[in-house]
């Protein structure tokens, strides 16, 4: 089995529903300290001169590479793992998912570096606000509250408007809209001092559901499935259509593929 995703750019309209569904599903926190915490994000690009201007969007996520440099660079925690035991925080599952075990993560962030992931940045700058850059791995800094928005006790108008902490307490969850999935390696809410990334919605796909970003797409631009099953939709599309992957030249062998053109004028 080798799970993968195809994103059909001719169907994608760059609406953002997938990114919101991902934040919803995985309870990812708000941007801070150069970390977007967006497991799903977008590359955006305008080119040409008026009126021959084209605009394109490419939805991005962890590529769940076959040759994942993040796993290679991950120092893991050999000591905690125990002698002779797998010690890397990042690892491949038999389904092909690049998974993260926070218990073995030392929060070093090496996986975000140029050598750790060609699709990530240690610190995002303003370019990520216009869709020029992104990061598929984010770091929850040591001793930082992982959900600061919902831990904040201040109010805009004390006594009159609420606070994040009050809303969370009244709603009865650490994040009021928390999607409280259970178990797994990556937890529904991460702790501090660990990185976090897309799991291909392992808690969903291991239970017969589609990843959240796939399920919500109004144009059904995302196709998810087993690339080794010749009857799967993803295999058939990859066989039929010309596809590409991001930064193929890096040799990471991504399992997220793109087909189609975003703009018919391109």
């Amino acid at each position: 089995m080798k799970l993968g995703m195809v994103i059909d750019l001719s169907r994608c309209v760059g609406c953002g529903a997938c990114a919101f569904a991902c934040k919803t599903e995985n309870n990812t926190r708000n941007r801070a300290n150069g970390q977007s915490h967006n497991w799903a994000d977008f590359l955006m690009h305008s080119e040409g001169t008026f009126p021959n201007t084209r605009h394109m969007v490419i939805p991005v996520l962890c590529n769940h590479c076959d040759e994942p440099p993040c796993i290679k660079i991950c120092p893991g925690n050999p000591e905690k793992a125990g002698k002779g035991k797998p010690y890397k925080a990042l690892f491949k599952t038999p389904e092909g998912i690049t998974m993260h075990n926070p218990e073995l993560c030392v929060g070093c962030g090496d996986c975000q570096t140029k050598n750790g992931c060609p699709y990530s940045h240690e610190k995002l700058d303003g370019k990520s606000l216009t869709g020029e850059t992104y990061s598929v791995i984010s770091l929850n800094a040591a001793e930082d509250e992982p959900q600061p928005f919902w831990a904040d006790k201040t109010s805009a108008i004390p006594g009159c408007t609420s606070s994040g902490a009050e809303v969370a307490a009244k709603a009865g969850a650490r994040v009021p809209a928390m999607n409280d999935w259970q178990g797994g390696e990556t937890k529904a809410i991460r702790s501090d001092d660990v990185i976090e990334k897309c799991t291909f919605c392992y808690h969903r796909v291991s239970n017969g559901l589609q990843p959240a970003c796939v399920e919500v797409c109004p144009s059904q631009a995302r196709i998810f499935g087993d690339q080794q099953d010749p009857n799967s939709k993803i295999s058939q599309i990859l066989k039929k259509e010309k596809s590409f992957r991001l930064q193929e030249e890096k040799g990471t062998k991504p399992n997220v593929h793109y087909v189609g053109k975003y703009s018919p004028r391109a």
Partner: protein, 851 residues
């Protein structure tokens, strides 16, 4: 500054004391030797994991005006996720990005959590109201006392009610009841700010003053004009769902002065000069006629079959026999014969060869050519005529009511109307209801054939000081959402008593004496919401499915019931007695609490669906309230094609009117009322046409506030695909993904300018610039972008809040906005024939200077 773990580790490594310093890793112990790397790539099984437990509960999104039937995932009493109602024939089970913001909005920490009372009598922008929390009973008492003061003084008409977002059914319990029973003719809907001018197109040609439906499943040529339905306007999920199919099988054409989402994905982008759409539409019509591309089945033909439409030549009316239309030759002779592509190219900036190419594509695909017109082609001074010109193209290509074309509203499921208020209207109320001191609709220079101009209310209030002593407004924020926004600040700062029903401490709330916290009705309210798209009209439920975390109450039902009880206790029982007529259709009982009233109102309205004695047209029968709550919606039957063909259009001639006898009648009636001529009305209302030209779709040169010399750039306003109207800007996710609006920047607010203009002015991306118009100025960031034409600048509406919450503002406490609000620079002006507010069409000139 605290070192991040990474920095700490690296700093430590550099000094060769890796991990020293007592972290959780206990690095002072000797490290075991890592196993060989190749083993690290041996897959290992992840620990089992399960999705969150909960259930999908039906609801209705009200983030735009499509009002999609949705479902909320409710987990432990909390709203967590959102999807389209899986049985919806309109959205196919999907929501657009807006829907996913519902839980974020529901749990916004900056919501008003309890009723508030103002303690600072001074009112103005930036003046702290010094709100203090009060109980619901105190708040309702204060409101009831002020209302009774007016009634006791025999001047109930000095109460002004203004409706913002509403439920199409529950609104009858507030907007449809309070003014009548209490007695004020001074009440308004926000509608005139929205897109009402666009209704003049279909209204004055085919007698349908409504929003159209489009057969996206079958159309072969889609022309999106003055709207971006991949992002806003209507039926966004349906459009996203179908758009790629149309691109693949046919032609998609986008007419928009800025590179919109639809324009980015269209075969043809026509970046028309703002306000010149009428010239472009005229040229397309000219080509369709001169090249013989009109649809014979709908429009008819020349008697002898020879095309006499030759540029510049008059045509005798009796040479053409029309079928479903009326006045084609008049239209040609009055307007179209000289509207050549060469003429239009000069006016609208679109090359003549592109106009030809587009007209031919439209003609070739006819009648499966759908022209989808939006507010960008209509909401401007003189916009009525552009709306007519653009919509009339549908008549020429014969797409009206046919497969692949443009439809009216399908008939929806039956709903119960609330009882008549007649018996509860006393003499005081009757007199007050006749007072329209603040309503300029019907004034000589404001025919307002479609809607009451709510944005003119401040001007009328300034003219009639003392006309209004008390204002109640629900789910509105005109100080942010209406052009000439500062006029609202001025006027509301003088209103003696203002009650605002609202979710957040908005700009408008800053002027309130009492703030009543509202529910977010998708997640916290009860109602039945109706709409249509994709050939079906539907009714969809909102059913208060979660544990509310704030003390908010639904404004149209819960608050009104409480207010009615209080008024009754204080001697004015009429409203409460009327509400008692709305009984639970199952038990026949009247409500004993505000929440019960809200639920009974939803049950009362929808009972004809789930208590139907005979099967209804449309969906399979739903038996009982519980079954309706579970399904959440009911569709009527699919739209009937050609339902108006054969002389059944609701126009004066019963035909599709290229010469609008309908407008002639309405305008003549208005002129008679003012004892003058239609030409005089057109003159004082600011239109350029005179005589018969006024009754055909035609090009009127754009009106512009500010000379090109003084204000060299033409300003383009448009909507964000993340705007839940003006309300979502306080959500971090809105800010984080603002970049999904082409050219925009997350966590910011940019005005987009063509790089050639930037070079001329010595401005670059990232510069802080001030945009100044005749109405005011705002300061935002500059983005140089090839998606706008030189000489124009474009900026999205939504940001620029100086109140509302701490995410939407740069500094809530100090009233410092994040970015700038377009409505502070857009001049308040109107398409006076419709009564709608101008927002588009390049009617505001601006200058851009480095801040």
């Amino acid at each position: 500054m605290k070192l991040t773990r990474r920095e700490f580790i690296r700093a430590s490594a550099a000094s060769a004391v890796w991990m020293l310093g007592g972290s959780a890793l206990a690095a002072d112990k000797p490290k075991p030797k890592p196993m060989p790397f190749k083993n690290a790539l041996i897959p290992r099984k992840a620990r089992p994991s399960t999705p969150a437990k909960g259930e999908w509960v039906a609801s209705t999104c009200q983030g735009c005006t499509q009002w999609c039937a949705i479902q909320l995932y409710v987990s432990g009493g909390r709203a967590t996720r959102v999807r389209g109602n899986e049985i919806s024939k309109s959205n196919h089970g999907y929501v657009c990005p807006r829907g996913h913001l519902i839980p974020q909005q529901t749990y916004d920490p900056d919501r008003v959590k309890v009723p508030l009372k103002r303690t600072n009598p001074m009112k103005g922008r930036g003046i702290d109201p010094k709100f203090v929390p009060i109980s619901w009973d105190e708040a309702i008492t204060a409101v009831a006392d002020k209302m009774l003061e007016l009634r006791n003084a025999g001047e109930p008409e000095k109460l002004l009610y203004m409706r913002g977002r509403y439920s199409p059914t529950s609104t009858d319990l507030l907007y449809g009841t309070l003014p009548k029973v209490f007695g004020t003719g001074n009440y308004f809907s926000h509608s005139a700010l929205c897109a009402e001018a666009e209704k003049m197109g279909p209204g004055l040609t085919q007698g349908f003053f409504g929003y159209r439906d489009y057969d996206l499943e079958k159309t072969n040529c889609l022309v999106v004009w003055g709207c971006d339905p991949l992002a806003s306007n209507r039926q966004v999920p349906n459009t996203i769902h179908r758009f790629h199919e149309i691109v693949a099988r046919g032609t998609v054409i986008a007419v928009d002065p800025r590179l919109s989402n639809a324009a980015a994905k269209a075969h043809e982008w026509l970046p028309v000069l703002p306000g010149t759409d009428g010239a472009l539409a005229g040229a397309l019509a000219h080509v369709l006629l001169t090249e013989g591309l009109w649809n014979r089945e709908f429009v008819g033909d020349f008697k002898d079959g020879k095309n006499l439409f030759v540029a510049g030549s008059m045509v005798a009316e009796d040479t053409f026999v029309e079928k479903e239309t009326s006045g084609l030759v008049k239209w040609w002779n009055l307007e179209l014969k000289d509207r050549t592509p060469a003429f239009a190219a000069k006016e609208c900036g679109i090359p003549a060869d592109q106009i030809l190419r587009v007209a031919r594509a439209m003609g070739k695909a006819a009648p499966k050519t759908a022209v989808w017109m939006g507010p960008g082609a209509a909401m401007w001074p003189r916009g009525t005529y552009a709306a007519m010109a653009v919509h009339a193209l549908n008549g020429l290509v014969g797409s009206i009511d046919v497969e692949g074309g443009v439809w009216e509203s399908p008939s929806g499921p039956p709903l119960a109307k609330f009882p008549s208020t007649d018996k509860f209207i006393d003499e005081v109320a009757k007199k007050g209801y006749k007072n329209h001191a603040t309503n300029s609709r019907g004034h000589k220079d404001m025919p307002g054939l479609q809607v009451a101009p709510v944005n003119d209310v401040p001007n009328q209030m300034l003219k009639n000081p003392g006309a209004i002593k008390m204002v109640i407004s629900s789910w509105s924020n005109f100080n942010h959402s209406a052009t000439g926004a500062d006029r609202w600040n001025q006027v509301l700062s003088k209103v003696p008593f203002f009650v605002h029903m609202v979710t957040n401490p908005s700009e408008m709330s800053q002027f309130a004496d009492i703030v009543l916290p509202s529910t977010h009705n998708s997640s916290e309210g009860w109602s039945i919401v109706t709409n249509m798209s994709n050939g079906y009209a539907y009714a969809s439920i909102q059913q208060n499915p979660i544990k509310r975390v704030f003390e908010g109450k639904q404004e149209e039902t819960e608050v009104m019931w409480l207010l009615a009880q209080k008024l009754k206790a204080k001697g004015f029982p009429n409203l409460a007695d009327y509400y008692d007529l709305i009984k639970d259709p199952e038990t026949g009982k009247s409500a004993t609490s505000e929440l019960e009233f809200s639920e009974f109102a939803a049950k009362f309205t929808s009972a004809p669906i789930w208590m139907a004695k005979e099967p209804l047209k449309g969906d399979a029968p739903i038996n009982g309230w519980a079954a309706f709550k579970a399904k959440g919606m009911f569709h009527g039957p699919r739209y009937t094609l050609k339902k108006n063909w054969g002389g059944k259009f609701k126009t004066e001639t019963k035909k599709f009117e290229f010469y609008s006898a309908t407008l002639k009648k309405k305008l003549t009636d208005h002129a008679k009322k003012h004892e003058t001529t239609t030409d005089d009305i057109l003159t004082v209302s600011g239109y350029t046409a005179r005589g018969d030209l006024a009754f055909v779709p035609h090009y009127e040169v754009p009106k512009r506030h500010g000379s090109v010399e003084e204000f060299p750039f033409t300003f383009i306003d448009y909507k964000s695909r993340l705007n839940r109207e003006g309300r979502s800007q306080n959500l971090p996710w809105y800010q984080e993904f603002k970049k999904v609006d082409p050219g925009d920047v997350s966590w910011g607010d940019v005005v987009k300018m063509n790089p050639a203009d930037g070079a001329k002015l010595g401005l670059k991306t990232g510069d802080k610039v001030t945009i100044t118009s005749q109405a005011g100025s705002i300061t935002v960031d500059l983005k140089l972008w090839e998606g706008v034409r030189p000489g124009t600048v474009a900026k999205c509406y939504g940001q620029g809040h100086w109140a509302y919450g701490r995410v939407a503002t740069k500094d809530y406490a100090k009233s410092v906005p994040l970015g700038g609000n377009n409505n502070e620079i857009l001049v308040d002006d109107y398409d006076r024939l419709s009564g709608a507010t101008a927002r588009n069409g390049g009617f505001t000139g601006v200058r851009i200077t480095k801040a």
